[in-house]
């Protein structure tokens, strides 16, 4: 039963992060919110695995944790260098706020 409470808590946290993802003024707020959202998803998959009594959900959670990290770093690299790294050119004083 307590896992239902944990799942509800995670859902509330995810909704808050989605609001920040939508509102976030700068790009990096959105990257931060999406990274945190990914971590909540990993925990949510783990809790669901316990709720439905299926231990193989944890493999999915582990995979999701790996992909989430790679995705965040890829998005950061794109916004930092303006390209995925084929031609690394330092951008002019790009937008800040």
């Amino acid at each position: 039963m307590m896992f239902v409470v944990a799942a509800f808590a995670l859902i509330v946290a995810m909704v808050c992060l989605l609001v920040r993802l939508y509102v976030g003024p700068t790009v990096y707020d959105r990257v931060l919110a999406s990274n945190a959202f990914g971590t909540q998803t990993v925990l949510f998959i783990g809790v669901l695995g316990f709720l439905t009594g299926r231990p193989d959900f944890l493999d999915i959670a582990l995979l999701y944790a790996l992909i989430n990290f790679i995705g965040t770093i890829a998005v950061l690299k794109f916004f930092r260098y303006g390209s995925m790294g084929d031609v690394v050119k330092r951008p002019a004083k790009s937008e800040g706020e």
Partner: protein, 119 residues
């Protein structure tokens, strides 16, 4: 008697983990600028993750599930800090200066020993 204690302990951990997750998320929603939100994000990343995974480990007992959970916990522990650092450095380099540095660099450039951030 022991299973009851383990049950209670794991429920406490799961509840506090969920509470920390909500605190981190609400903090990320309400803080004024990007740099304060970094701190809020790390609250739910560290305390929320560790408590929830420890609670689930206690629930699962000494089985393969606990091993998987510990691997997930270790990985989240490592990548959480790394990705937050990467986000912060990318933001800093691309010109998003924290308010504290703005005031200091604004007042006296000469006495400021730490070099100015950004390109």
């Amino acid at each position: 008697m022991l299973p009851v204690i383990i049950d209670i302990l794991s429920w406490i951990m799961i509840l506090t983990g969920g509470a920390f997750t909500i605190i981190g998320a609400v903090g990320q929603l309400r803080f004024p600028n990007f740099w304060a939100r970094l701190h809020a994000a790390s609250v739910s990343d560290s305390a929320g993750v560790i408590l929830l995974i420890a609670g689930m480990c206690l629930q699962a007992g000494p089985t393969l599930i606990t091993v998987k959970l510990l691997v997930i916990g270790l990985f989240l522990f490592v990548t959480g800090a790394t990705s937050t650092h990467a986000t912060a450095s990318a933001a800093l380099v691309s010109g998003l200066t924290p308010p504290v540095l703005k005031q200091k660099s604004g007042e006296d450039n000469s006495a400021d020993k730490s070099e100015k951030p950004g390109s």
